[in-house]
Amino acid sequence: MTVIDLVSYEDALATYDPVMGLEVHVELGTKTKMFCGCSTELGAPANSQTCPTCLGLPGALPVVNAVGVESAVRIGLALNCEIAEWCRFARKNYFYPDMPKNFQTSQYDEPIAYNGHLDVQLADGEVFRVEIERAHMEEDTGKSTHIGGATGRIHGASHSLLDYNRAGIPLIEIVTKPIEGAGERAPEVARAYVAELRELIKALGVSDARMEMGQMRCDVNLSLRPKGREKFGTRSETKNVNSLRSVERAARFEIQRHAAVLSSGGTILQETRHFHEEDGSTTSGRIKEEAEDYRYFPEPDLVPVAPPREWVEEIRGSLPELPRLRRNRLREEWDVSEHDMQSILNAGAIDPIVATIDAGAPADQARKWWMGELARNANETGRALDELPITPAQVARVAELVAAGDLNDKLARQVIDGVLAGEGDPDTVVDKRGLKVVSDDGALGAAVDEAIAGNAGVVEKIKGGKVAAVGALVGAVMKATRGQADAARARELILEKLGVEG
């Protein structure tokens, strides 16, 4: 691997001003592909979800997926874009074996949505406005798997396998205008933008936007210019940066790399670069000496898309509350810090918590369980919170049992474990495992007597005025009742029996 010189981030930012452009591809969650009726379900056997159209067989023709267009309009409106009254698809011509027609049906100079913005909030609460150039519709390519090469890349491979199941899945490409003025916060802005966009896409219900599944992919364009200069520098284009953390790292790395090249009197090549998860570096991909000529022209096999204005307004009226505004509203309602809210967001806990509150739990309880026990379990088992086999209503029931004094925290955790283990709903687990708090004095009395009898030394201390030592006796009671005792009541009983004022 070539050694890449870097300058420190601080030094780079002392001299240069970064300009970014972010291109995000989102795979829409439509049931069928963009131009044919094939299923978009992931994980099917290779080439099992294909037809003459998405295989590009001679004679086959495309038909536009109306749900795809509606999704594009929803995204456009949520990004505060103007929606074209009339626009066309265009063919982007280039040869590649995973592209069946050797042109991608896309949009060129007539995108369905243009001129918008997305306000993103950084960790400290600062809001940064990212201007949106356009959002347009296109189709995904198939997938190449290169066999025999060292790195899975085509270089050195003996042969390649092609799976066209993905070919024709609808994509929306969202392109920002140049992001200027973020300064040292540029990598953070990049990350926050992609994160916000992902939340927005999910809130709109148009895609699950799971980056690890390739449903959302990001290209990071970055250039530096000496501070105070208007003109943009030459940019590099880091392709397929597919996690939030990687977006931030890629931007940071490129700032440091560009600065090193420029400071040593070199020039930045306009090129695509590959991002490496292992060390956060980028390496040179394809050099774009001349802008690639895709020979775009309007797709003659499709008729123009002309979304009626009333329909667009109808969609606008049905848009959900924007994620950032919703988060801010919830943060105030829940009375948590920016930082805590960020953690809740990162954990994917907002929706489960809201649902749990809706099911009757107090906000702090809902938050406590989802961000505590459940987040831990999700983390350990490598699942997302919403994939855990427990419903918000069940979590709310656990909280209710705790509030009623039927469970203490320790028992509640056991109940949750039981639900996660598939033992049934919380009440069933309580019954089956016999996890009710023991608070009636008769049952507790024996355990208390036993604890007093067995800990003479401690009893002496308590009687001698060290009331705090009662904890040890309570502990003994809890141990004897295997945690099921009502600790507060046990304490009261012990002090009562010893005739000591609590």
């Binding site: 001679p58 536009v64 011509n93 069946p100 775009y296 022209f297």
Partner: protein
């Protein structure tokens, strides 16, 4: 009836009528045509593939339906020759190109499906200029087709196989596709009837694309009524083709049966005569115009100045679209594969396969189109051509404010000898001078015989052009002219063709 020659000389309407009445079985009709193919196609070379078994199976199915008392469609049991550009499930489809040699499509084109549903018997697939690029069928990778009127001459193109098949009585019906004249020009030079329906009138699904915004499938026949019957069977909205018109099929059969021009206004296109037009062609055309007047039409001259630019615009738009449409032939999923010996990259295999699989004319147009779409040239070439297209549409619009249909010669000359223009693309392109404007504007147009040129005794075509979705006017005018000529000559012109 057992005289197989007599069977092959029936019109499609007559054949269908005899099958419906029980005078003939569909199997008899099919066998008669298969025998005719056997007898003459070695000389004509209209077919690239004869589907004997498929044809007989379909014929038997029609006979069984009739025996069961089921209602038959108006063309049930009538044989047809299908241009080898429509996909046919399990039956070779080559588009006249080596690059698709041996390909068996896994699906039927919409047109193929509709023909089958109508009980029409598909005899086989007809020869054509490779990817429909040409005006003589000489560009077929599988050798040229002879014109039944003179086997040393071209049968027109690109659908020369279809026109030759019906002109030599190997089939009463055929299907063609018309991008710049590929149905009408072959009809003209073989003394047959060919119709390019309104763009969007016939589904393009499963019709291998040459130039998507111009391609249009249509009927070929020996009479106007037969063409109308086939037009009705193959046309109509198809949800699989986004450019398909969602409207009822124009009443073409009714119009072909009515056949009258009394009180109609007919415009003669001023641009389509003069230099380059064969004297006999002009003479027969003028006679046809005189016939129209005699039949009660009001004839006026119409100026369409933008038509002079049509050929240039066409040779930018069609190659541009073709350069993109033909990109899919990359040897990765189907078709010819050259160089797959472990020593070449996928890129090389694609290049070698395209080099070996495409003929010169196809390569010429791919290069022209690739150039015309290049950044920096797009506006000057493709962009300008689209503007010309708009001007041509306007010329048609203003013409159709004054007249109901336009007429012109279909092609400036009669059939030329095979080989004469093979090395002169420009001379070849001129064969489509009069037919191209209708493609650029998306109008409906027909060619029908209007006599033989005195100097060479070869057929001359009369072109009729109607506004979009007014296809019935072609048949109304065409049937009237045809009837007048039949009365004058005592028979259809095709009866004068050599019997081979």
């Amino acid at each position: 009836m057992t005289d197989t020659t007599a069977i092959t000389r029936l019109t499609a309407a007559e054949t269908a009528e005899k099958i419906a009445s029980g005078a003939l079985t569909a199997v008899e009709v099919t066998e008669a045509h298969l025998a005719r193919i056997e007898a003459v196609d070695e000389k004509v070379h209209a077919f690239l593939h004869v589907d004997r078994e498929g044809a007989l199976a379909q014929a038997r199915a029609v006979d069984a339906k009739r025996a069961a008392g089921e209602e038959l469609g108006p063309l049930a049991g009538v044989p047809l020759a299908l241009k080898d550009i429509f996909t046919t499930e399990g039956v070779p489809t080559t588009v006249g190109s080596k690059i698709l040699e041996g390909w068996l499509p896994p699906y039927d084109a919409t047109v193929t499906k509709r023909l089958k549903a109508a009980g029409i018997v598909i005899l086989g697939k007809t020869n054509m200029d490779e990817f429909a690029m040409g005006s003589s069928t000489e560009n077929s990778a599988y050798g040229p087709t002879g014109n039944p009127w003179d086997l040393t001459r071209i049968p027109g193109g690109s659908g020369g196989g279809s026109s030759a098949a019906i002109a030599s009585f190997q089939a009463p019906l055929a299907i063609g596709t018309d991008t710049g004249g590929s149905i009408r020009q072959p009809a003209a030079v073989t003394g047959t009837v060919g119709v390019k329906p309104t763009y969007g009138g016939v589904s393009r699904y499963g019709m291998v694309a040459f130039s998507s915004s111009l391609d249009q499938g249509g009927p070929c026949a020996r009479t106007v009524l037969d063409a109308a019957l086939l037009h009705e069977a193959m046309a109509g909205h198809d949800p699989l083709d986004s450019t398909s018109v969602d409207a009822p099929v124009p009443p073409v059969v009714e119009a072909a049966r009515a056949g009258s021009v009394a009180g109609m206004r007919v415009g003669v296109v001023k641009q389509f005569r003069g230099e380059g037009y064969q004297a006999g062609v002009v003479q027969r055309f003028d006679e046809a115009v005189a016939v129209l007047k005699e039949l009660g039409a009001e004839v006026v001259e119409v100026d369409c100045p933008s038509f002079d630019l049509a050929l240039s615009a066409y040779y930018l738009i069609a190659p541009s679209e073709c350069s993109s449409n033909l990109a899919r032939f990359d040897a990765m999923r189907y078709g010819l594969r050259v160089g797959d010996d472990g020593s070449h990259s996928a890129e090389d295999v694609t290049a070698l396969s395209r080099e070996a699989g495409f003929g010169d004319e196809v390569k010429r147009r791919i290069m022209l189109g690739t150039y015309a779409l290049s950044s920096g040239y797009y506006d000057a070439y493709y962009g300008s051509a689209q503007k010309v297209r708009t001007l041509i549409k306007r010329d048609f619009e203003s013409a159709f404010e004054r007249v109901d249909v336009l007429v012109s010669p279909t092609t400036p000359t009669t059939a030329f000898p095979i080989g004469e223009r093979a090395d002169d693309p420009m001379a070849m392109y001129l064969a489509d001078l009069c037919t191209i404007p209708a493609n650029l504007a998306g109008n409906a147009a027909m060619s029908l015989p209007c006599g033989l040129a005195p100097e060479d005794g070869l057929p001359v075509g009369l072109q009729i052009i109607a506004p979009a979705m007014k296809d019935e006017r072609l048949y109304q005018v065409g049937a009237a002219v045809e009837a007048a000529f039949v009365e004058k000559w005592g028979h259809h012109l095709i009866e004068e063709a050599p019997s081979l």
